[in-house]
Amino acid sequence: MNLSFLFSQFMGGLTAAMFLFLIASGLSLIFGVLRVLNFAHGSFYMLGAYMAWQVVHSLQPTGATFWLAAIGAAVGVAILGGIVERLLFRYLYGREELYQLLFTYALVLILGDAAKWTWGTQQLSVSRPAILNGGFEVFDTVVPYYNLFIILIGPTIALSVWLMLTRTSLGRMVRAAALDREMLDALGANVGWLYTGMFMLSAALAGLAGALVTPIQSIVPGMDVEIIVQAFIVVVIGGLGSFWGTFWGSVLYGQVLSFGILIFPGFSLFSVFALMAVILIIRPWGLFGRPIR
């Protein structure tokens, strides 16, 4: 155990954290507004990855292909999310939460198979954009530029969304809708489209994350389920509905995962669920959420 090793574990944890944050932020956003945990969020992530791959393989490889793919994935998934919300999901709003949860789970099943049918079960991958190839040396270890890019983009997006929520009138409406939908309706705001918009934004974040992960991880069926459980853990630790909570929850989770493997090599699986359980037992509103009882 030396500095170089610790540092590379730390950077690894941070990279994982930022990916997770990109995904979990959308989840947290939707929970904050709609009070629904969207199981299908992981599916949006997976579809974003597949769509990015599709774009990269359909276009002539140029320097900009990767970025086009990323944006295309985000937009594509957002549109899909919008369609799902407009045509189906919004009819469940008044109903019991269980029905909404189950609907998102049904989406996981349907979208998962749709992806399998379209792209098969082979592992796919996308190469790094040329501009971010290579890495730099520090503390006797190499940090890939791409990882650094991810580590920087996480907080950037976090800040942007946070500014949007707290400084713009749109953001104010979103927060108002989270507190009292009927009142907002009565005030003339078009709450329906607001919800659709938020759903699409959340899906876009997931899709973007999926696109950006492709150079680091292969695209496989099952990545939707794998990521959603981790996103749940992060959101619970940080605090359901708390935006910055999700951020710091991701950071914490990334490090726990990174270093947990050293302490309990076989039990990293166990440790993250144990962490989730402990938080729910002693502080269910998470590290940064508002106390509820």
Binding site: L37, L88, A106, L109, A114, V236, F270
Partner: protein
């Protein structure tokens, strides 16, 4: 008359009727039919145990499979690794699952709604992680293959049973045990205890103010549900010729929940019907295509939007409409 009437009371001895109807399967059906019927019986018990929480008390648990799995592992370990006879291993499974349900449930019932659901999920995944990794005891990711059948040779000496092999013999054992459990669950649902649980489902705040210790009752229901899930798990471990960690994965909790809702969670027998329908559909569809999840998801969507009361709920509504039209 309203279609929403919760159907947990009744005078007809349905349990006995269902038992008698299910009994002849090995005589009239093929070996495959018996195999399917055994599976249905086990899942029916599992789904009915979940409905104690979901339909009766209004508790949405995402981690019910943990107790199914614990029951399976306890029975499997006792019977395979330690050579304990079934007659001891079976009750032990229920007890073991119930114990974990008691401990986990104690923490879970202090929370409500989504937090409750998340904690049940967290505990369930902890169980999964332990089963997946504890190679010495649970076999780790290899699991416990070749769990032995209980000794059922004595059954061959019963009149009419002589030609049956272990598969059919096990079906009879399963049917009897499942029906006993179902009878107990039915009794529980129709008892004053069950009535109190429905008040918690309808309005926990009001229930507290007619003198109900809500947390205490929820814990009791959680434990009872865990015990019966454990029984179904024990039977499944033997039926499946092995206990493996992926039985405890959370997706199975979703499957059993879908069974309960498909059949109708507002009716006692709903989950059993849902288990039967879903098991048969699964067998039929997976033999034609690999896209079973797509079908399952679509069925679920149709359920949620068109038939939220499930099969029995739809039948109930249809019956009421028929009756009202006759009286109109």
């Amino acid at each position: 008359m309203s279609a929403l009437r919760t159907r947990f009371a009744g005078r007809i001895p349905w349990t006995l009727i269902v038992f008698l109807a299910a009994l002849p399967v090995p005589w009239v059906g093929s070996r495959y039919d018996t195999f399917l019927a055994t599976q249905i019986a086990i899942y029916a018990l599992f789904a009915l145990s979940l409905n104690l929480l979901l339909g009766l008390t209004g508790l949405v648990s995402f981690g019910h499979v943990a107790y199914f799995g614990i029951g399976a592992y306890v029975c499997g370990i006792l019977m395979k690794t330690l050579g304990v006879p079934f007659i001891v291993a079976f009750p032990a499974s229920g007890l073991g699952a119930g114990l974990f349900a008691l401990v986990f449930g104690f923490f879970c019932v202090r929370l409500t709604k989504i937090y409750f659901a998340m904690l049940t999920l967290a505990f369930s995944q902890i169980v999964w992680a332990v089963c997946f990794k504890w190679n010495d005891v649970t076999g780790g990711d290899q699991g416990l293959p070749d769990v032995p059948f209980p000794d059922l040779h004595w059954m061959a000496s019963l009149p009419g049973f002589g030609h049956f092999r272990i598969g059919e013999q096990f079906y009879f054992l399963t049917l009897v045990l499942v029906m006993l459990c179902v009878a107990a669950l039915r009794r529980l649902s129709q008892s004053p205890f069950g009535r109190v649980l429905t008040t918690i489902r309808e309005n926990p705040e009001r229930a507290a103010f007619i003198g109900v210790n809500v947390r205490g009752y929820e814990l009791a229901a959680f434990t009872a549900a865990g015990i019966f899930a454990g029984f179904s798990g024990a039977l499944f471990g033997i039926f499946n010729r092995g206990v493996f960690a992926d039985y405890v994965f959370w997706a199975k909790s979703a499957d059993v929940m879908i069974m309960a809702i498909l059949g109708g969670m507002n009716h006692f027998w709903g989950p059993a019907i849902g288990a039967a329908v879903l098991t048969i559909l699964n067998q039929q569809i997976t033999s034609i295509t690999e896209y079973w999840p797509f079908f399952l998801g679509s069925i679920l969507v149709i359920l949620l939007f068109v038939f939220p009361g499930g099969i029995l709920g739809a039948l109930d509504a249809g019956w009421n409409r028929l009756v009202n039209r006759r009286h109109a």
